[in-house]
Symmetry: C3
Subunit: 203 residues, 3 copies
């Protein structure tokens, strides 16, 4: 129940981020809806088709479909006021990647995959909705260029497998891993930490 509320908050934040990017590209209402949808469910869809969980999750859970449609309508109508919600949206988005990372890891565990693959699936679930959003909008995916985002998911994922050596309770582990992702992301944004650059002069 508690997890479901978090999951819905994350979905709302992802859908709204899709709406904002799509409207920035001046897409029509249909385009805006599709981008909102893809941002919210794209990462999980990619995870499911690679692991072989089909029909993919969102096709079997109408809650998310309704949440995404409602968030899109809300974001389109109140788009001029969304800037006042920036802090909440950032928080929801951060909760979203924490939770999506954990959901992705769980999918990998259920399919008996190697820990590194599970971490990759968690990161994919959290980050690839945004990647597909950016590709559909004809941009280079933003997470490949800046910000600690995927890195938080990767560290959270490895924390899960590290702590599993000492702890038994799966739920407890999931909560800790999610918190690690969220904390790293919040700290990275607060203190403007980014990955070390590979290049001598910055573009």
């Amino acid at each position: 129940m508690f997890f479901q509320v978090l999951d819905i908050l994350g979905t709302i934040a992802f859908a709204i981020s899709g709406v904002l990017v799509a409207m920035n590209k001046r897409m029509d209402p249909f385009g805006v809806l599709i981008i909102a949808f893809v941002t919210a469910v794209g990462g999980g869809t990619l995870r499911d088709i690679m692991v072989g969980v089909e029909p993919v999750s969102w096709m079997r859970n109408m809650t998310f479909v309704y949440v995404i449609i409602a968030s899109t309508v809300f974001a389109v109508i109140f788009r001029n006021k969304l800037k006042h919600l920036r802090r909440s949206l950032f928080l929801f988005d951060t909760i979203g990647i924490g939770l999506y990372t954990v959901v992705g890891i769980e999918t990998g565990l259920v399919a008996n995959l190697h820990p590194i693959i599970c971490v990759a699936l968690g990161t994919m679930t959290a980050c690839f909705g945004g990647v597909i959003r950016d590709i559909l909008c004809n941009d280079i995916p933003v997470i490949f260029r800046k910000e600690i985002y995927a890195t938080a998911c990767i560290i959270g994922g490895f924390t899960y497998f590290l702590l599993r050596l000492f702890l038994d309770d799966q739920n407890y582990l999931f909560v800790i891993a999610g918190f690690v992702v969220i904390t790293i992301r919040l700290l990275a944004v607060k203190f403007k930490i980014s990955l070390p650059s590979l290049y001598k002069t910055e573009a």
Copy 2:
């Protein structure tokens, strides 16, 4: 039999639209063939991998493979004369999206999915070949920006589920739904109807 002829006409139109976009980008013969292929089968492929129908449909039906290859060769050779065929191609394309919408809905019904998901699958089947074509050609997908196209599929799809409350005959329902898609698309193009803009000044 009648449906198969329509299906082939739709495939021809989709493949030729791929050839025209690819040649506009000055691709080489291999690139042109791939774009033609992707435009014709991309939507159905995405639908099949999301629902779990694998190997995907076109891999099990050589007719479409041959039709796409033949259409590509034809379109490359007669590209300067295709403008005289513009009306026929538009008609074939419109028949194509009507039929593809219905095929997508049927896939969803067979997999026991919710009506909204079925409509989404129908729209995806009809529209996402063009979306993948545009991404491979490095454009923002045209259907996200203008034209009643996806909207016709969505309305046709909901018509199907609405009429199903009153009618029993599946085939009859499919024909009506397909016709609704085709009619809306034809009227929208004839009267230059597009979705209401979300923006005050047009780009």
Copy 3:
């Protein structure tokens, strides 16, 4: 054993080509790793999800995951010296497409698909990692525009099915088909052969 060495050499070359393209776009370390990964496994992943082999191959074989990570670290550190390795990398890459073509054909044969589909799967395995790399980097895929690359895979694939009419030994056939791909690619690059242009004046 011999095949596995070739496979690893191909994977190294593909991953390094991803690193070079990603660094050219000034991506951060995470982006570089993802592009290396996608270039190396993208074609096989697409093949597997279309045919229904899930979880996809690389998720069940950690060797490749380690090879890709190691190649990425190596390529990032020694990027200024990679030009001295250009010949080796080109050779590895060429070995890679020869081998990947054969692996793709085999996947199709195992799933009982038509020879033309098998050739398409072989070509997809060899070429679509690069296509996805280019899309993520916001370029029109290079193989759609120039170079004999996919064409070599297609010819090698048809050679396999042609020779199968006369020969029985599967392994022997695979080796020949792989060699045909490699030879055509080497000759095409050496003699600067490309596909005939479809356009009167070259762009």
